[in-house]
Amino acid sequence: CQDDFINLASISNQTSSTFFKSASDFQQGVNAIYDGLQSPQTYGKAYYYLMEVRSDNTDIGDRGANAGIASQVDLFTEITSNPFVLDAYAGSYVIIARANAVLDRIDGATIDETAKKQFKGEALFLRSLAYFNLVRLYGKVPLVVRTESPNESLNARRNEVSEIYAQIETDLKTAAGLLPVSYTAATDLGRATSGSASALLGKVYVTEKKWSDATTVLKTVLPTYSLLPTYADLFRAESPITAETIFAVRFRKGQSPSEGNLYFNDMMPLIYVNGISYSGAGNNRPTANIAKAYEPGDKRFAASLDTLYNRTATTVVKGNYVKKYFDLPATTGDEGNSFPVLRYADVLLLLAEALNEQGYSAATAEGSALGYLNKVRSRAGLAAKTAADLPGQEAVRDAIFKERRVELAFENDRWFDLIRNSKALPVLQTHLATEYGLTTPVLTANRLLYPIPQREIDVHNDLTAFPQNPGY
């Protein structure tokens, strides 16, 4: 009786030790992993600062805003306590921890085997996605594959990049075997599929320059997906999952609690639409340089960005903004565009790259590097490239690199493409000089990796066992 009086269960929250039992419990646990992708620490905001604003694709509207933290990322002057650097790191590990919470228990769970396979596959895929982003942004990071108590995590060390890639590869292979090719229930649309896992694995291989492995796995994705005829249809808030979508981060406006994002608020300038004047921060703003990167007649231009906008009902002013995420906010201020993570066109271009890196081919048929490239180009209304246009491996490499920039603009690929192609230093140095007049070299090679957040260095408090990245 005494102990009853002081043993009070939580009224408004469940506890995890008593929670994971039924298939529905695990399903909810898995949904929470996906939820981590919506966070402003990840795809909701921080990622596109570190992956697009960082590159020559976009810049920011107000350099002074928020004490210049976005400007730091753009101008390669970020300090180790930069909030975007912190957020992306923290948000990625939230995804990982939620995945581990499911993975720790799923094998022992007494639930339907089909469901079990699916949940495990989803968790492995999502965890791999988080690690793939982490390892590309920060290099060596702690590899956590089961739930660690805060105490245990103090012993964490920065694992080698190769160990992290090895884990990602193993997990994605497992996930591809566990996940269904597609979901029968329409309500499951948007969950990771075996194609999501294979496409991500292919992208991982390309990043690692394992060209032949990449080719094999990427080809397995092809039969399930197809290019949408109209590029602009890829970015409609009302139908984010298309035949081309291999994986996307979903948002929806007008929900309570909010399931929307702040893309509109953050990316649009002062803009007048349908009688209402909206003002965003004007960040992730397309540069003049990317506006010029589109070939004449490229249908993707109008779907991706705009260079003019209405400041009032009658005045139209010059200024670039991203159009892929242009969905008017709901009354509650949230916006509903989803964020594409993996799509068929990306897979085609990755395949083209992997094939070309294994040897130049003049062939333009289906299944060749040029064939895949041209498939993407023709949807954009552009002429096919022939061996005459692209006479050697180097030329094909450049063409794919250019194509990826415009096809996948503002989809968080540019910064990594620059690094993979060893072009980050020269391209961005030029970009800094032409766009901002920064003439002395401000971009040094160490900045190809972000610093580990200062807070994490401070918590570990041991620069030998948990060092900062070089140059910070």
Binding site: F5, N13, F19
Partner: protein
């Protein structure tokens, strides 16, 4: 033969004194026997040996002890009249679960009596005791009516658990949960916004006029009887009760007056500011485009960041007579305050009563803010038989707050921040008299972006009602002489209701910056709290062999608290006509509930030998729902002793009328953490899936890691004290030294993010507080002209002894991330940042010192603290602490015939404030108005300004604005807290029909001497968070109050 000694004990008014101690001592044998007087004051000691002479010693709390020599059994009954003791030693002091004569006190207890509290136009008891007690620091974090107060007793024992003392009102420990139930003004559905509005103070429901005494239990021995809640000290509030003197007394006390902002910040006028805007735009433009010219026009400049706002051109041309708005003047006002308390008290032998009604109305000095209180109190005690007594305390109150979001940054509609930042070129009102809106939102040129603060204050409706019913009943039965059983039940029922509405007529900054009309938003928030306590105690007071007096207490208590909160948010209102949520087209809601419970056993023995030696030992065992399964129960023992040297026969120094030494040691705890802090709680993490726009799918993720070992913070404290009375009490000095160590700090520590969590609640680390306290009361002049002085001074040193498993410092966030550090060997919560080295005056200074790559002349110079030749995160260091070196208070009372004058000073010395307001109003960006000091900005190598103010720059360059010692200011102050001049009318003028008639004039917070440039050096943006204390991110200034008052009793 009659072998009995008997008699009656009465006081000076001839009222019987029940329960007085009677010791009968055989003069020949030395044997003693004793008894207590009954309800009629009578006593009888029987079966005494005849022929012997006895001495009879009669004592009772609050009265002088009387010894009657040579009493013989059988003689006529004695008639003893006890004199109320004037001596400080005989004053009755309320302690936990009882009372004692001050003589018997062995711990460190400070008290304030009603007489010292009256005549101050204060809304709550905390304000009333500010500066009065040694070792008690009262912080008025906000000047808002009914606003946040915090009290710190003997430093800071905790890092992240609550730091509030335990408030015990008439024996009922109040729950701290009330602070979190008042709702917030967060805009709706915007994630990541914390509320900057500080909680109104729940203690403000208590009418200061009803308070009889306030006792502060400072040391662990006094407080440990309250166990797991006592380590921040305990404040015992005792309300007035009727006396047995039969005659009803009616009192009316009232005051009314006016308040005004005690300090405003001097800002630039529109002409000065326009020049700064121009310079800032030009510098930013040239920084970004080194080959450009400042003569480029707006079309060439292209970006609004660099474009010159046309509105400033007339100012730059020095056109005379243009609008130059003083926005502070626009939001502050002379505000009325009034208070009325009417009470009746009195009683008979059987029944005593105190009944009062109170009305308090305080307008805020910020327009549209205000606070009203309506309260009633009834305290009744009835002796049903000579053995059985019952009582009732009943205190319903209704508080109404007109809240204005004064405290936050402008982006969240913070009124004061907005008024400080607002561009002075815009008018408050349009020529037609309507409020000028959509001006600050001239987004095109990057002005502050907030809406007109006058419009925000007057058009946003934010009303909070607090209805409270605080009550208790008790029954007390005397089983045998001296042995009393008491059962006590108390409850505290609270209802909070808050309605918020933001109309369409205001421009908005969040979620998107836009001009009016905007989408209106509303919310309705309700919360209730139920707290009950049932307490059963047995006390046994007995005397052995005359000289050995014991008072034994045993008790068993249980307490439980439940809070329920719900909130409905709405938007999409068709217009502003109906502002309740039913009119909204889109609504959302949430509700939650939470509980805690506490089960306790307590025991205490007080031992008094010969009124000279005193010992006290207590033990409490607490079981709490808040702690981990492995650590639900804890023990809190204490022991203390005192020696009244001046009571010894050998002590013969006539000048010293009292000399007492005290020493104590005890253990207390702190349980102020979240109710379910030890559990691995899950929370909703929903996601969108499905065809089309999809639907929300429930997701559940871990929101906090489990910690089954979670337990109390434990504070052990040693206290040594000295009480010294000189010249018959003309000088009275009380000194204490203490040293306390708190272990197992409840700390939400930063943990590696790789765990998936940023922080986890754990028991780690320890902190030490060492201090001295000195209280001095002197009666300087007696006679027709009386002059009394009350002085107290205390110093506390806080030091962290141990932190986390690897001793890593805790770096915490404030208004800016990572600007506080708590590290071993230093006090809790230091400001952390770079050291300001002034401004680089020219290129050669830059070349000669480490700097950022982009640094240009006129940018801030930071000191290379570690001397490694570069400026980076490793150059951050401790740049100040909120802890004062010492605090003091001084009150002088003068009295001559009917005239009385009291002057109170209060001071804090050596504290530092992190003034984050400077990030906006001293940042030289020209998007906000600036402090007048910023005029001395760097203009060129030949016009370098004051050497500490950077160049004007719309885009701050080279981290010049990052947190450094530039933002840290000296927070020392001396405040003339209260000056009261009163005149008591001669009662003979009213033919004695009126016993007291006094009129008085009071000035509160008349002046503050300080170097601090913000509103109030008491500021603390996060009173609940010791790790990030002392920040000023916009605060409600303290008001200076002039009142005229009247006290009448008849």
């Amino acid at each position: 033969q009659d072998r009995t000694i008997s008699g009656t004990i009465r006081d000076e008014k001839n009222e019987a004194i029940p329960g007085a101690s009677v010791i009968v001592k055989n003069s020949q044998t030395g044997l003693t026997s004793g008894t207590l007087s009954d309800a009629t004051g009578a006593f009888k000691v029987s079966n005494l040996p005849t022929g012997n002479a006895f001495s009879v010693i009669i004592s009772f709390i609050g009265y002088e002890t009387q010894t009657l020599p040579n009493v013989r059994p059988g003689q006529a009954p004695l008639s003893v009249q006890l004199k109320e003791s004037a001596s400080v030693l005989e004053q009755v002091v309320v302690i936990g679960y009882g009372s004692q004569r001050r003589r018997e006190i062995t711990g460190a207890i400070a008290s304030v009596r009603a007489a010292e509290l009256k005549d101050q136009p204060v809304a709550n008891l905390e304000q009333a005791i500010a500066g009065k007690l040694a070792g008690v620091q009262v912080l008025q974090n906000s000047g808002a009516p009914g606003g946040s107060m915090s009290i710190r007793i003997r430093g800071l024992n905790s890092i992240s658990a609550g730091t509030d003392p335990l408030y015990v009102i008439d024996g009922f420990p109040i729950s701290n949960d009330l602070k979190n139930l008042q709702g917030s003004t967060d805009l709706i559905n915007i994630s990541g916004i914390s509320s900057f509005q500080k909680s109104p103070n729940p203690m403000s429901t208590l009418n200061p006029d009803d308070i009889e005494s306030i006792e502060v239990l400072k040391d662990a021995s006094a407080a440990s009887i309250y166990g797991s809640r006592a380590s921040n000290g305990v404040i015992l509030v005792t309300t007035k009760r009727g006396k047995k003197d039969g005659k009803p007394t009616f009192s009316y006390s009232s005051y009314g007056g006016v308040q005004q902002a005690s300090h405003t910040i001097k800002l630039m006028d529109a002409y000065q500011w326009s020049q700064l805007v121009l310079d800032g735009k030009n510098n930013a433009y040239l920084d970004a485009n080194p080959r450009a010219s400042i003569n480029d026009d707006n079309t060439v400049r292209a970006s609004s960041t660099y474009q010159i706002p046309p509105e400033i051109l007339p100012y730059l041309a020095k056109t005379p007579g243009l609008t130059t708005t003083d926005w502070q003047d626009a939001i502050f006002r002379n505000a009325a305050i009034q208070n009325h308390t009417l009470s009746a008290s009195g009683g008979t032998d059987k029944v005593q009563y105190y009944i009062s009604g109170n009305y308090f109305d305080q307008q805020g000095i910020v327009i549209a803010s205000g606070y009203k209180r309506y309260g009633v109190r009834t305290n009744l005690t009835a002796s049903l038989t000579s053995k059985l007594k019952v009582g009732l305390g009943f205190n319903p109150t209704v508080d109404h707050y007109d809240l204005v979001n004064t405290e936050g940054p402008f982006i969240y509609d913070g009124i004061i921040d907005n008024a400080l930042k607002a561009a002075p070129i815009f008018p408050v009102y349009n020529p037609d008299g309507s409020v000028a809106i959509n001006k600050q939102n001239a987004i095109a040129y990057g002005f502050s972006g907030g809406e007109n603060p006058v419009a925000l204050a007057t058009q946003i409706k934010d009303k909070l009602n607090h209805v409270r019913l605080l009550g208790n009943i008790f029954g007390e039965y005397e089983i045998i002489n001296g042995l009393t059983f008491k059962t006590y039940f108390a409850s505290d029922l609270n209802y909070f209701g808050r309605n918020y509405y933001r109309p369409s007529t205001l421009g908005a900054y969040r979620p998107i910056q836009q001009n009016a009309p905007t989408i209106p938003k509303g919310s309705a928030q309700n919360a209730s709290a139920r707290n009950w306590l049932w307490e059963n105690t047995l006390t046994y007071a007995f005397t052995l062999k005359e000289a050995h007096r014991f008072n034994v207490l045993l008790g068993y208590t249980s307490q439980k608290n439940r809070t329920d909160a719900s909130q409905v948010d709405g938007t999409g209102f068709p217009n502003d006509a109906v502002q309740t949520i039913n009119a909204a087209t889109i609504t959302s809601g949430t509700s939650s509930a939470s509980e805690w419970s506490l089960l306790s056993y307590l025991g205490r023995i007080n031992y008094n030998f010969s009124d000279r030696y005193f010992l006290s030992a207590s033990l409490r065992r607490d079981g709490s729902s808040r702690f981990g399964a492995n650590n639900k129960w804890g023990y809190f023992p204490s022991v203390s002793g005192a020696w009244l040297i001046s009571g010894e026969n050998f002590f013969k120094i006539p000048a010293i009328t009292e000399l007492k030494l005290r020493a104590s040691y005890g253990l207390t705890g702190n349980f102020q953490i979240d109710n379910y802090g030890s559990l691995d709680l899950l929370r909703a993490n929903n996601y969108i899936l499905g065809a089309g726009t999809g639907t929300t799918n429930n997701g559940v993720g871990l929101s906090q890691p489990a910690n089954p070992d979670l337990t109390w913070e434990k504070t052990s404290q040693f206290n040594a004290g000295l009480d010294l009375g000189l010249f018959r009490g003309r000088i009275y000095l009380s000194a204490d030294f203490y040293k306390s160590v708190t272990k197992d700090l409840l700390l939400s520590v930063n943990v590696p993010l790789s765990s998936g969590f940023a922080t986890a609640l754990r028991n780690v680390g320890s902190v030490q507080n060492t201090g001295v306290e000195l209280g001095l009361t002197t009666h300087n002049l007696e006679g027709a002209f009386k002059w009394n002085t009350n002085f107290n001074i205390s110093a506390n040193r806080n030091k962290v002894l141990q932190l986390g498993p690897n001793g890593a410092p805790i770096i915490s966030d404030g208004g800016v991330a990572s600007i506080f550090i708590t590290q071993i060997g230093s006090p809790i919560g230091n400001y952390y940042g770079y050291v300001n080295g002034g401004v680089f005056k020219n290129q050669s200074e830059i070349d000669a010192y480490p700097h950022y790559a982009t640094t240009k002349p006129g940018d801030r110079k930071f000191i290379d603290v570690n001397g490694d030749g570069k400026i980076d995160a490793n150059d951050r260091t401790i740049i100040g602490s909120y802890f004062p070196k010492f605090i003091w208070g001084l009150t002088n009372d003068f009295r001559y015939k009917g005239v009385d004058l009291a002057v109170s000073l209060q001071a804090v010395q050596g504290s530092k404030i992190l003034n984050l307001q400077r990030r906006y109003i001293y940042n030289l960006e020209g998007n906000a108005n600036q402090m007048i000091e910023a005029l001395n900005y760097w203009k060129s190598p030949t016009e370098p300004g004051d050497g500490n103010t950077t160049r004007a720059n719309r885009v701050t360059n080279a981290n010049s604005g990052q947190i450094s010692s530039f933002h840290v200011e000296d927070g020392s102050y001396v405040r003339l807290r209260n000056v009261t001049l009163g005149y008591s009318l001669n009662r003979k003028w009213f033919s004695d029909k009126i016993s007291t008639a006094r009129i008085y004039f009071t000035a509160q917070n008349l002046h503050t001497w300080t170097k601090y440039t913000g509103y109030n050096p008491e500021v603390n943006a996060r009173p609940e968070s010791p790790l990030s204390q002392g920040e000023d991110y916009g605060t409600y200034p303290l008001s200076r109050t002039y009142t005229l008052g009247l006290n009448l009793s008849f």
